[in-house]
């Protein structure tokens, strides 16, 4: 078996081993969703219009649920492993063995995502069915959109990998990186639309966000799903996702090159 296929399988097995953990983290999103539910109920009740910032009540609740699920699905987490490898010198094992660290990390990461994608897909389908046919809410469901949505999500997962792969190079310069990682995760969650739809932030902030990769991680795929975007913009968005992936890839190469120089100079 190819070495990276093997690492991919190990990542998958590892995720299966910790499947309950993943289910519990999904379950934990129920509370923020409930809080948002009550928040939006109050807002809509006090408002004479049926729309707030372009969203109807049903739509905003649907967005909140999808965003919570997606946040968990694209989440990285391996940045802590990288930091550990650097701090304890485990990284040198990848220097002396014929295996690339980058290929190892991405294989293991993607392998771990397979069971999670299956779980999230299952839940999402369940929600769509409940929303559409049981609660009869006003949410558009189209099969083609769902298919394209999954392609966008796949790109989001890869994009988020690269963002955090760049971030993980902080480990080379700082011994204690927990705070940096945590803060960054929080900020990126807000900036990617993982909590509120980005329309809420107003034009000024959105102009800034247009130049950042984050909105393509959560905000964009959900807009593909809920029908807010016309097809031309969907195609455009996916091109931008690919562009960001390329840019972040180059960026990570450079940062890792610099980091490894430092790793070697301090003795590994």
């Amino acid at each position: 078996m190819n070495k990276y296929a093997k690492v991919f399988t190990l990542g998958l097995l590892n995720a299966l081993e910790y499947r309950v953990n993943f289910l519990l983290t999904l379950l934990s999103t129920i509370f923020p969703i409930l809080i948002q539910y009550f928040l939006w109920s109050t807002i809509f009740r006090g408002n004479s219009e049926s729309e707030v910032l372009g969203y109807q009540f049903d739509q905003i609740i649907f967005y909140t649920i999808c965003a919570a699920l997606l946040s968990k699905l694209v989440a990285a987490g391996f940045e802590y492993d990288v930091s550990n490898d650097v701090r304890t010198g485990q990284l040198s094992k990848f220097i002396v063995q014929p295996i690339g660290y980058f290929q190892y990390r991405i294989s293991s990461f993607l392998g771990g995502k397979i069971p999670q994608i299956i779980i999230v897909t299952f839940i999402l389908v369940l929600i769509l069915v409940v929303v559409k046919w049981v609660l009869q809410l006003d949410v558009e469901v189209a099969l083609l959109r769902i298919a394209v949505f999954f392609v966008a999500v796949a790109l989001s997962i890869v994009m988020n990998f690269f963002i955090f792969y760049c971030l993980s190079t902080f480990s080379f310069w700082f011994v204690e990186v927990w705070g940096i990682f945590y803060t960054f995760t929080l900020l990126s969650s807000v900036a990617s639309g993982g909590i509120f739809p980005l329309d809420m932030f107003g034009q000024g902030i959105n102009k800034v966000l247009d130049f950042l990769p984050f909105k393509y991680i959560i905000f964009f795929p959900i807009n593909v799903l809920n029908g807010k975007l016309p097809w031309a913009e969907i195609a455009n968005g996916m091109m931008l996702q690919l562009g960001w992936i390329l840019l972040l890839f180059i960026c990570s190469k450079f940062l890792w090159y610099k980091g490894m120089q430092r790793f070697e100079s301090v003795g590994g």
Binding site: T88, I95, V96, P98, G268
Partner: protein, 328 residues
């Protein structure tokens, strides 16, 4: 051509000084004074195929740094080295496939996996064929007595068991050169012995070249004909371990048990008194006079028991460490 050739290899580390106290901490935010430490300086040696060479030296002497340069983990700041004809720090795949490094203080196995999964991963990494893999694991696990433990998660193994698994993992691809950095550290005597015997056998069977560092004298004495001693980054001795003492002080140690006390003055005729504990006396005698002095001791002193020893190698080595420091 020699398997390992090292010429004037040097490594300089830079680090920052920080003095005690808040004031200097704040000062350090703006300006840090860089200091340099010469971890390895002008080290040269060659190793032939099939040799087992021991690397000795006090902590911080530069043993591990040298091994790290020879395995390509760090770049040297000066000099040159080739291992199997490759410059290690170029990290060619063909080179990586032919050597192994085992560090006693770092583990290379995947903690969450059972040992055989981890070995299997190494099999894929090194592209070892299924058949070779099965044979090697079978043979080595038999030799090291860990066959029953292959299915257990690595984190649940004891230190000695884990080290044995590390060795199997490091030998899967049949390396031609093996670097061992303190492979027996923290192990009990029995495990240490097992691992030494294993390497002795493995070296004879496969004609592999081994470079070994250790603080346990037994590891070096048992395994290595040749020893390179480095101190403060420089080679201070390169040769047979047994000849170290001859180089420095040519003395013998005589331990005697007396039937009644003898005055120090009487003892001093024969040699330097190292220790007196009641009736147990230890003397150090010049080698040239040893034969004569011992004979007259036996004739004139009330001796019950008597042993004759060479100065322990440790003392010769300690002398070399200190000698090197004076030169530096």
């Amino acid at each position: 051509m020699s398997i390992i050739e090292v010429q004037n290899l040097s490594k300089q580390f830079s680090y920052y000084k920080k003095e005690v106290g808040l004031k200097s901490s704040i000062k350090n935010l703006f300006h840090r004074e860089a200091l340099y430490k010469q971890a390895v300086k002008d080290v040269s040696f060659t190793v032939e195929q099939g040799e087992i060479v021991g690397f000795l030296g006090p902590n911080g002497a530069g043993k591990t740094t040298t091994l790290k340069m020879l395995s390509g983990i760090i770049y040297p700041t000066g000099g040159n080295a080739t291992v199997l004809g490759y410059k290690p720090w170029e990290r060619k795949k063909a080179f990586k496939q032919q050597f192994s490094i085992v560090m006693g203080q770092k583990n290379q196995l995947w903690w969450d996996l059972p040992a055989n999964e981890s070995l299997n991963l190494n099999r894929c990494i090194y592209e070892v064929s299924d058949q070779d893999f099965k044979m090697t694991v079978e043979e080595l696990s038999e030799l090291l007595d860990v066959k029953e433990l292959l299915k257990i998660q690595v984190r649940r193994l004891s230190l000695g068991e884990r080290m044995k698994m590390e060795l199997i993992a490091a030998l899967l691809h049949k390396p031609k050169v093996i670097f061992l950095d303190e492979p027996t550290i923290g192990l009990d005597l029995l495990s240490q012995k097992k691992i030494r015997e294993f390497f002795k056998y493995y070296n004879q069977q496969n004609k592999v070249t081994i470079v070994l560092t250790s603080h346990y004298m037994n590891d070096i004495v048992d395994l290595c004909k040749r020893t390179i001693i480095i101190n403060e980054g420089a080679v201070v001795y390169d040769g047979e371990l047994a000849k170290i003492n001859a180089m420095f002080d040519a003395t013998k140690i005589v331990k005697v048990t007396l039937s009644q006390t003898v005055s120090d003055a009487d003892l001093l005729q024969y040699g330097v008194i190292k220790n007196v504990d009641g009736l147990e006396v230890t003397l150090e005698i010049e080698k040239e006079q040893a034969k004569h002095n011992i004979k007259s001791m036996l004739d004139h002193l009330p001796i019950l028991d008597f042993t004759l020893e060479d100065t322990p190698i440790e003392e010769g080595i300690a002398a070399i460490y200190q000698h090197g420091r004076k030169q530096a």
